[in-house]
């Protein structure tokens, strides 16, 4: 019985921390974006700094009328937000916040995370098709084409990490980054993969995950100026809020995966094993927020790409670069 209780507590803790992280990222998006444009941003909700803005938004969404448009495919329309949300929070299972704070570390963790997050594509297609609206349909198809095109470089970047770490378990990958990269006399220095040969892989991963999240500069699926809101055009009330939450939870899970693969996860160079045990979750989440800040920064800096530039970037640049990255990683691993 205690096993079941422990498991439930772990799963709830991971889910709570990650969804809480998503709320923080939503707030950061509003506030950081505002300051980057010389605005103030949320100011009143919650008293100081408008910290309660995400909760106020959630409450507002809940009070809105939930409409299913005429001619929409009722069942598919209602199922779509669930599929998108499942594809996002399914990733949380394998994220280790510290050596022992993980819902379940699978042997195929990295592979599983990529597989389960590819379900988002289905949800997006379902939402776009079932809405019976041409903006939704165009947005959904664009989104699906974009998600599948950028899944290839994303997966290829992870292959290089798997070669370097020799495992697909996410905890295993983080532990492999704790192994000393080089020694100065008695001192062993452990470095994350971003500093030991995976800098190209990291760049590919970040660009591809930006596209997977449909964020600016890759936001053609929900291009407001042409497609209203893409595949979520017809969604209102809590269903829209679920897509919204899934988007930011996806940002957290993508940042968390990048943290585990390239930034050393819960490790910090120079920290002892005991310190990592205690401080692990703090370090991990700090790194996740750092990457999320990078995503937000890029959003408020870059303009939108064109659809053909998007496909061109994925197939002509990122995939060859990722294959080259694998070749380089393999060569180094064999030679040294």
């Amino acid at each position: 019985m205690s096993f079941a209780v422990l498991l439930t507590v772990k799963v709830l803790a991971v889910l709570g921390l990650m969804l809480g992280g998503a709320l923080v990222v939503i707030y950061a998006e509003l506030k950081v974006g505002a300051h980057m444009q010389n605005r103030i941003g949320p100011y009143f909700a919650g008293g100081r700094f408008g910290w309660a803005q995400p909760f106020a938004d959630a409450l507002k969404f809940m009070q809105k009328e939930d409409l299913v448009p005429d001619g929409a495919d009722d069942r598919v329309y209602k199922l779509a937000p669930y599929v998108v949300l499942m594809g996002t929070i399914g990733v949380f299972v394998v994220l280790p916040l510290s050596p022992r704070f993980v819902a379940r570390d699978l042997d195929l963790g990295a592979f599983y995370a990529l597989a389960i997050s590819s379900l988002t594509t289905l949800g997006v297609l379902m939402a776009g098709w079932s809405s019976n609206n041409k903006y939704s349909l165009i947005g959904g198809l664009r989104a699906a084409a974009q998600l599948i095109a950028y899944e290839l470089p994303l997966v290829l970047a992870v292959v290089a990490v798997a070669i370097q770490a020799g495992t697909l378990s996410i905890s295993g990958i983080i532990e492999a980054q704790a192994a000393p990269a080089f020694s100065i006399g008695e001192l062993n220095v452990a470095l994350p993969y971003i500093l030991t040969g995976q800098i190209i892989g990291f760049a590919i991963f970040v660009v591809a995950s930006l596209a997977e999240l449909s964020r600016i500069p890759f936001d053609m699926p929900i291009a407001e100026s042409e497609l209203t809101m893409g595949f979520v055009t017809e969604y209102s009330s809590i269903r829209f809020a679920m897509f919204f939450l899934a988007e930011y939870a996806g940002m957290v899970s993508m940042s968390a995966l990048a943290t585990a693969f390239y930034l050393g996860g819960y490790q910090l160079p120079g920290l002892s094993a005991t310190a990592v045990e205690v401080l692990g979750p703090v370090i991990f989440i700090s790194k996740v927020f750092l990457l999320s800040f990078l995503f937000i920064w890029l959003r408020w800096t870059l303009p939108r790409f064109r659809e053909d530039q998007l496909q061109s970037l994925a197939w002509r640049w990122l995939i060859p670069a990722a294959l080259l990255n694998i070749a380089i990683t393999a060569t180094f691993k064999v030679v040294f």
Partner: protein, 138 residues
């Protein structure tokens, strides 16, 4: 590794579904529900849409999906090689080298055939129409 190892995934999904359904239930309780024909009409800036949304799409979308399936299958083999990288050594590199070389060749073929070029201005038909138009204008 047994079925029990996958229990957390099921649990996470169940809690997620429960959370979403609970939020929906609350929303259903507190939100108004007075639908009217105007509200239920497809969003079209107030104008009733004249045609069904199911329109014909460029075949490129199909091409991307098909190429994705093909390349995805190839990536799986790379994973199988990556986890046993040390054990296979040079033999593995040679085996996967042939594989990746042919994969790159496929990509190159697709590229040269123009399947990855989504720019309308690069297409024969578009250029022909533009040329005709310019001829008429001249």
């Amino acid at each position: 590794m047994t079925l029990a190892d996958y229990l957390p995934i099921g649990l996470m999904m169940l809690i997620g579904i429960g959370f979403a359904t609970g939020a929906m239930w609350v929303s259903w309780k507190i939100a108004p529900n007075v639908p009217s024909p105007e509200k239920l009409a497809p969003y079209e800036c107030g104008i009733v849409p004249l045609q069904e949304p199911a329109l014909r799409f460029p075949v490129k979308f199909y091409l991307v999906a098909m190429l994705f399936v093909i390349f995805d299958v190839e990536l799986i083999f790379l994973f199988a090689w990556a986890v046993r990288f040390e054990a296979f050594g040079w033999t593995g590199i040679a085996a996967i080298g042939i594989f990746v070389a042919l994969l790159v060749e496929t990509l190159f073929y697709v590229w040269k055939r123009g399947a990855l070029d989504w720019n309308v201005a690069h297409r024969d038909r578009y250029r022909r129409v533009v040329a005709e138009y310019e001829d008429e204008a001249a």
